[in-house]
Amino acid sequence: MRYSSQRVAYPYFAVAMLLFGLQVAFGLLAAAKYLGPDPLLPVLPFDVVKVIHTNLLLVWVLTGFMGAAYYVVPEESRAELHSVRLAYVQLGLWTAMGVTAVVGYVFRWTAGNKLLEQPFPLKIVIVVVMLMFLYNLGMTIRAGGRLTTTEGVLVAGLACTALLYLPSLLEFDNYTLAIFYRWWTVHLWVEGVWEMIQGGILAYLLIRLSGVDREVLEKWLYVIVGLTFISGILGTAHHYYWIGVPRYWLPLGGLFSALEPLSFLAMAMYAYYAMRRSGLAHPNRMAMHWTIGSAIFSALGAGILGLAHTWPAVNKWTHGTLITSMHGHMAFFGAYVMIVLGMITYALPGLTGRSEDSRETAAGFWSFWLQMAGMFGMTMAFATAGIAQTYLERILGIGYLETQLKLQVHFLMLVATGAVFTLGVALFLWDFFFLAGRPVMAVPAPADATPAGAAVR
């Protein structure tokens, strides 16, 4: 860590981790509801728990991205952050928005549009926060007068994230049109511009962790992002198959989303290549685990498991079953959760003013492997449940409710593996808040130019 203003990343990471914990708690509760009966039905029915589970995910991952960007951009552009104060105000507003949304959902204040349930006033707050954020980053880059490819890809991904949120502000009378443009936000985020963010953070971490030549890594970063967009933009079609649009989206979706694994495979190869070259010499081995893990897990979850049900002739039968949950959980975890956890783990020694090799705890490693095992188990539980559901409900034509009763054993497995995952997350939070040491906070004054080394407690 070279710039004291990079420390604003810490409170971002702290908020992200608190919301992560809450998200997982709600996830476990949702899984338990699959077993039923549900004693919480009158106060906290499934739909409320689910909307909180997914919205917390979006909010905390974005919080993590923001923290990551505030950590990476000053270092890449070689300048202190334009305004630490603005970054704090932004975080306050953002957190208030997130908390209001969650409390609002409990009291049934919702826009009811899947993943974009945020009521209109909160959507405006999100846009304002994104603008503050991009302004702060932009001014920092301007002051530094230096824009590397790595941060360029990261910041462009964040800017496109803000831009693509705008369609969610529109209302349509025609439900099909509403879905059509909803995917511009949701799909083009997670299978488009968020992959830019993931690629940017991955490149940054690989440069730092492996010491491989920046020019080489950045060259291939362009290829990865190019592959992402070739497959991702037209791959939106795989959400359009059955919603009331022209037929040509079917072959298009099949073809281009079948290419989507390429960019994830490229990222996995990229990480593997960089690590082989460097011989895994970096002392922050925990960060290395999360970084390589992210590249591999996203190739499996987003790449291979997405491919498993993206072809129209398959999707016709699996569309709207638990197969989607199988893909969704592992993809999101591998691509976005793990890369944020990797960034946090990498940045934490600097943020708490410790040396990098002291940052290794048994709890940290247990957290990694328990989350791996838990998420793998959950994915398998969703997969077996989804395959059985597709076969019984969609192919044999057995009623939805009878089919769900037949899936109970898979839901038991889901709850069990979900508990393992939750334990892993709890250990990560414990490590973050209690073992990693107190943070050295950035102060909102330009005169604050304490070198990182001097900040050791």
Partner: protein
Amino acid sequence: MTKRGTRAFFVVSTLLSGLLFLGLTIDSHRKIPALTNAAAIDASVIAGKDVWHRNNCINCHTLLGEGAYYAPDLTQITTQRGAGYLREFLKDPSRFYSEERDRRLMPTLKLSDGDITALIAFLGWVSKIDTQGWPPRPILVRGSSVPGANVGGPPATAASSDPGELGRVLFNSSPPACGACHSIAPNVNIVGPSLSGIAATAASRVRGADYHGKAKDGPGYIRESILDPNAHVLAGPTFAAQGRSLMPGDYAQTLKPEQVDQIVAYLLTLK
């Protein structure tokens, strides 16, 4: 490849993909009104869409296969349940489903009558969207389109002495195992033709020019088809061969007359 080369690859491929996507979006935007029957979107359908959103329905159910996976898909619900049923159900779901039996239950939403009417109008509009043939087979809330697979369903004892109810139990019992060959789901032809909507189909078939049997009306046609499957033979790869029906021809001997009456009464309920 140099960094310049890979950057050019990124810029060009992104631009081309983006342009193609935008072009297709414009074309789709022009065609979606016809595919979705947009002319039928009236104030009631829009109000129903708002009810759908306000009540967060999408976070349990799926619609057009999109949503959560905790409750049944509702794309075709208005073709499977009448408006009267849906109205009663929405007023109090616990009258129809129970946590003990089904392990999950929809909360009572306290919807007004106007909200319910609008919601049914909205779901009715959704059911007519051209979904490119999805779902390929009906997605049922309960029950089964395949005989012997209705696990957890009602036991094979009649709930009343109503002839139709007795006929339903008989239809699903073995013998005579009618359900082993005939489904009652639309377009699901197991061996013999689907009997979905047979009451109406029989009434129109008996008036057809190609009908040469002795029946005078729908019920008569159904009775004749059971007792003499060759009176009117339907073409189909597994229905008939060399102009002869493949259905067993001995039900006149194996079924008692009142059992035939009961099966006819049951089939007449399939409208």
